[in-house]
């Protein structure tokens, strides 16, 4: 900052020698006192001006960005998704897409002119590319002007929220050199013709205003300079008294004394009040441009600039959304003045007068993603003070995928409505939450905290801790399969009545969901069909503490008590915690911290912190491979088979688990494809029964969500670790089978643990075998 050299005002005058009669002396003293007072007042104003102007001038809200959309051949972005993203970014549809922030649709392709954007890892230049699509993905990028196509293009990220200062002032700071020349010229021409000449107060303008007032016999014109207006906005209230006028004039003079015209103008551009959005005050042209036109200041054309300049006079009176006709007249007056004063030509003015206002509908309320923002805030709270998040103008780059978030919100709200109708539940009684993570990096892509996703109330995705029911079962089987000599996926477990006397003398007698017993069942089927009794047997045999340890390795951070009931899900977790668990399963036994933030920059773009990709081996990959296989079977042939109504589950290799709690209070589904981990919880806030099992409730919402995401899904085809062998077994006996056995299944085993003994159906010559082969 190049503040002009400060010139000190003279404080007071040295007192002369007194002593010529008291009345005179009194008058003299009074005069001195008055002068001193005036000087002190001036000095005080001076101090205020300098401290306010030079210190941090504005408390700036932190700006929170979504992930930036990446385009490259093969990117899982369809044409509709791209157009949706462009709409969120405020790109304008314009033939030829000549300017950054515009696009054109040409048949199946989209011609796109991206905006330059500074990311934490460098700057992304503005580029003009043609994007072609095939089968819901990007098929090719082509340089629009010929030449080499870029390998990948990163769009600017959608601004998804802000952390506001407590007084709810908002602005997007701009530098004078970045403000359109036309805006500056228009502003000076309309508001303060003498700006570049005067010293803070313009006597000629005052006289002009006075003359206008006299002719109109009313206060019609202010004659305030931009400097005076800035002082008024900055330091003073809005009452119109003579004393305030005087203060304003003195402060304006002082401001001009200390600072250059450019600094004052820049401050004005950022300070001027230009509108109101509920509690949020819209300050400065930078924000006003986004607020009224949905795009940055640098992309505004003449009619829009004229409208903004016109709004200075009265943002609520000329509000273009509430009073479009008034706003249009005001804009055209401004255009007339600009033409008259030679800022634009008459032809330009005439053309601009015919243009529509170009105002976008009221931008959505600020709390658009309250649940996700909540997660961001909590993760940042470990390193940043709340106050800094609200006032330092930090730029926060998050992992939110707005398109996926919209899909998750739709799936939850529609799913809940359909379930309430279909099951005759009281309308509005059912609540829910959704968490979606990237399976590879652990980035949080979408968080829905309730059935009214815009409502920043109870964030169920993070704070609703509910018993997880059968979602805990994979941990039981992981703990068991670590001992391949004792347990394999083919090991038979008794499904018959079980009673366990607990330490406190009570008897624990788990039952299956359908109250039936099946006799011996292979382990994989016990998990796929979510049988309680065999799970309890396996868990008791391996030991509850081992299961607790496995849960901890999966990523459950909270302390758990090793009671037997834990084996069947008497452990309360939030949807986010469940997602963390299943992320480890999707990651082949590697634990990846869930991240909602990638980086934080200062207002000036300096990197403050980065949240890097980390991973930690947590479980034996071979054991996870076995359990993942059983979870795929759960979706193909077990409790998750309802998903087939929504998705090609076999082709996608979907793995997942239902969860249901006592009296049907909680309905869960957790599952994953190759690239997405998603968890859905449904229940009631008062914890009353909802009458939905995991399969009847949450699974349906999960299916709706994944069906919407289908073109972007990658199949789950886990890398087979070394030391796995596949063997065909007969599920009736758990023994080695061959093609002679009906209903045999091929299962993965940790090498050396597969059954050696042949099932009765295998090996032995069987007259029916060749016959069967003919028909198969």
């Amino acid at each position: 900052m190049s503040a002009r050299r400060r010139r000190r005002r003279r404080g007071g005058r040295r007192r002369g020698k007194a002593g010529r009669g008291w009345p005179r002396r009194l008058a003299w003293r009074a005069a001195v006192a008055a002068l001193l007072l005036l000087a002190a007042w001036t000095a005080w104003l001076d101090l205020r001006i300098r401290s306010e102007f030079e210190g941090r001038r504005w408390e700036l809200p932190a700006r929170v960005y979504a992930r930036a959309l990446e385009l490259y051949p093969g990117a899982p972005v369809g044409r509709r998704a791209l157009l949706d993203e462009l709409a969120r970014l405020g790109y304008v549809r314009a033939a030829g897409a000549r300017r950054p922030g515009s696009y054109a649709v040409a048949g199946e392709a989209v011609l796109l002119h991206t905006r330059r954007f500074r990311f934490w890892d460098g700057e992304e230049p503005a580029r003009r590319v043609r994007v072609r699509f095939a089968a819901g993905r990007v098929a090719a990028l082509e340089a629009a002007a010929g030449g080499r196509a870029p390998a990948l293009v990163r769009l600017d990220p959608v601004l998804v929220g802000k952390f506001y200062p407590r007084h709810h002032e908002d602005r997007v700071l701009i530098r004078l050199q970045d403000a359109p020349r036309l805006l500056v010229d228009a502003l000076v021409a309309v508001e303060d013709r003498g700006f570049w000449r005067h010293h803070g107060v313009d006597p000629r303008a005052v006289l002009r205003a006075l003359w206008a007032d006299i002719r109109a016999r009313a206060l019609v014109q202010g004659g305030s300079t931009l400097t005076q207006q800035l002082v008024k906005n900055f330091f003073l209230g809005s009452e119109r008294t003579l004393r305030r006028k005087a203060t304003e004039a003195v402060m304006a003079l002082l401001l001009e004394l200390h600072y250059g015209k450019e600094e004052i103008l820049e401050a004005y551009l950022n300070e001027v009040y230009l509108g109101q959005d509920g509690r949020r005050a819209i300050h400065g042209f930078g924000l006003a441009s986004h607020f009224y036109f949905g795009r940055p200041l640098s992309e505004l054309d003449l009619p829009r600039i004229a409208l903004l300049v016109g709004l200075v006079k009265g943002p609520s009176y000329y509000d273009p959304r509430r009073h479009p006709e008034r706003a249009r007249r005001r804009r055209n007056v401004v255009l007339g003045v600009l033409a008259e004063r030679g800022v634009i030509s008459r032809a330009e003015a005439a053309r601009a007068r015919r243009a529509p206002l170009g105002v976008v509908p009221q931008p959505p309320a600020l709390a658009e993603y309250p649940a996700f923002m909540d997660l961001v805030r909590r993760q940042l709270a470990r390193e940043y003070r709340e106050e800094d998040l609200r006032t330092q103008g930090l730029r926060i780059f998050t992992t939110l995928d707005p398109l996926l978030q919209a899909a998750a919100e739709r799936a939850l709200t529609r799913g809940i409505a359909a379930l309430e109708r279909g099951h005759g539940l009281p309308r509005g009684s059912l609540q829910g939450a959704v968490v979606v993570l990237d399976a590879g990096t652990g980035e949080a892509l979408a968080v829905v905290g309730g059935r009214a996703p815009r409502f920043a109330g109870f964030n169920r995705a993070l704070d609703a801790r509910r018993p997880v029911g059968s979602l805990v079962k994979p941990a039981v089987y992981l703990a068991a399969l670590v001992h391949p000599r004792r347990w394999t996926l083919a090991t038979l477990v008794e499904d018959d009545p079980l009673e366990v006397r607990l330490d406190d003398g009570k008897v624990w007698a788990p039952r299956n969901y359908d109250e039936r017993f099946r006799g011996p069942v292979p382990l994989y089927r016990a998990l796929a069909e979510s049988l309680n009794v065999p799970t309890a047997r396996v868990g008791l045999a391996v030991g509850v503490p081992a299961v607790v340890d496995t849960l901890r390795r999966l990523g459950v951070g909270r302390p758990l008590r090793p009671y037997p009931a834990l084996l069947l899900g008497a452990v309360s977790l939030s949807p986010l915690e469940v997602a963390r668990m299943y992320l480890t399963l999707a990651g082949g036994g590697f634990h990846t911290p869930v991240r909602a933030t990638r980086a934080v920059l200062t207002a000036a773009g300096e990197p403050l912190s980065r949240y890097p990709l980390e991973t930690e081996p947590a479980l034996d990959p071979r054991v996870v491979f076995l359990v993942d296989h059983a979870l795929q079977r759960a979706v193909r042939e077990g409790t998750g088979r309802g998903l087939a109504a929504y998705l090609p589950v076999a082709a996608l290799g979907v793995a997942g688990k239902t969860g249901t709690t006592d009296d049907l209070r909680d309905s869960w589904f957790a599952g994953f494809t190759g690239n997405r981990v998603a968890v859905v919880w449904l229940g009631r806030d008062d914890n009353a029964p909802v009458g939905l099992s995991g399969a009847a409730g949450a699974l349906q919402v999960w299916g709706l969500l994944m069906r919407a995401l289908a073109p972007t899904l990658e199949p789950f085809a886990p890398v087979e670790p070394e030391g796995i062998e596949w063997v065909r077994v007969d599920p009736e006996t758990g023994l080695r089978a061959d093609s002679g056995c009906t209903g045999s299944v091929e299962l993965p085993f940790i090498a050396g643990s597969a059954p050696a003994e042949r099932a009765p159906c295998a090996g032995a010559p069987n007259p029916l075998r060749w016959l069967r082969r003919i028909f198969e």
Partner: protein, 169 residues
């Protein structure tokens, strides 16, 4: 196929997969997008696909471009930017074992021993049958362990590396 095996590892395994799917034919593997041409040519503009193209798989082009960017940042000495570029590539191809290895190497260069080892392990898990990459991962783990004073662990890792190198040779 005379393609740098380490770089095209996932692509190569894709090719193997495609070959497997193409039944027992003994001819060359069926062409799979992003596998055929060597890396340099892959960045050339691609012709518009025919109308009936199946869903294109993530091509190597963007990943290679990001790797270039990562190496350039590394030469500048900006390891954090180098890591950021690899992370960006991993978002595109999270199962690319070579990328995880590269991130591990950058972390090793930054003195983040534990993080480097964990990333190398992920790389190992994603390509259990790539002996050359496996050996490099174990060497990296050995270096990380030695740096944090775990001499015995380092020796064990070196033995794993040697075993793989022996088999690879």
């Amino acid at each position: 196929m005379s393609v740098p095996a380490t770089l095209l590892l996932p692509a190569a395994s894709l090719a193997a997969l495609a070959a497997g799917c193409a039944a027992t034919g003994s001819g060359p593997a069926a062409p799979v997008e992003g596998v055929g041409p060597p890396p340099v040519e892959e960045r050339a503009p691609q012709p518009p696909p025919a109308a009936a193209t199946p869903a294109p798989r993530p091509a190597r082009g963007p990943v290679l471009a990001l790797l270039d960017r990562s190496r350039a940042a590394e030469r500048r000495g900006d390891l954090e930017a180098a890591a950021a570029a690899v992370e960006r590539a991993l978002r595109i191809a999270p199962r690319d074992a070579a990328l995880w290895h590269r991130l591990a190497r950058i972390r090793l260069g930054q003195g983040m021993w534990r993080r480097a080892e964990a990333l190398a392990r992920r790389s190992l898990a994603l390509a259990p049958r790539d002996r050359a990459l496996g050996a490099r991962n174990w060497r990296l783990i050995a270096a990380a362990r030695r740096a944090r004073g775990d001499a015995a662990g380092a020796r064990a890792a070196e033995r794993r590396a040697e075993a793989l190198e022996g088999m690879a040779g």
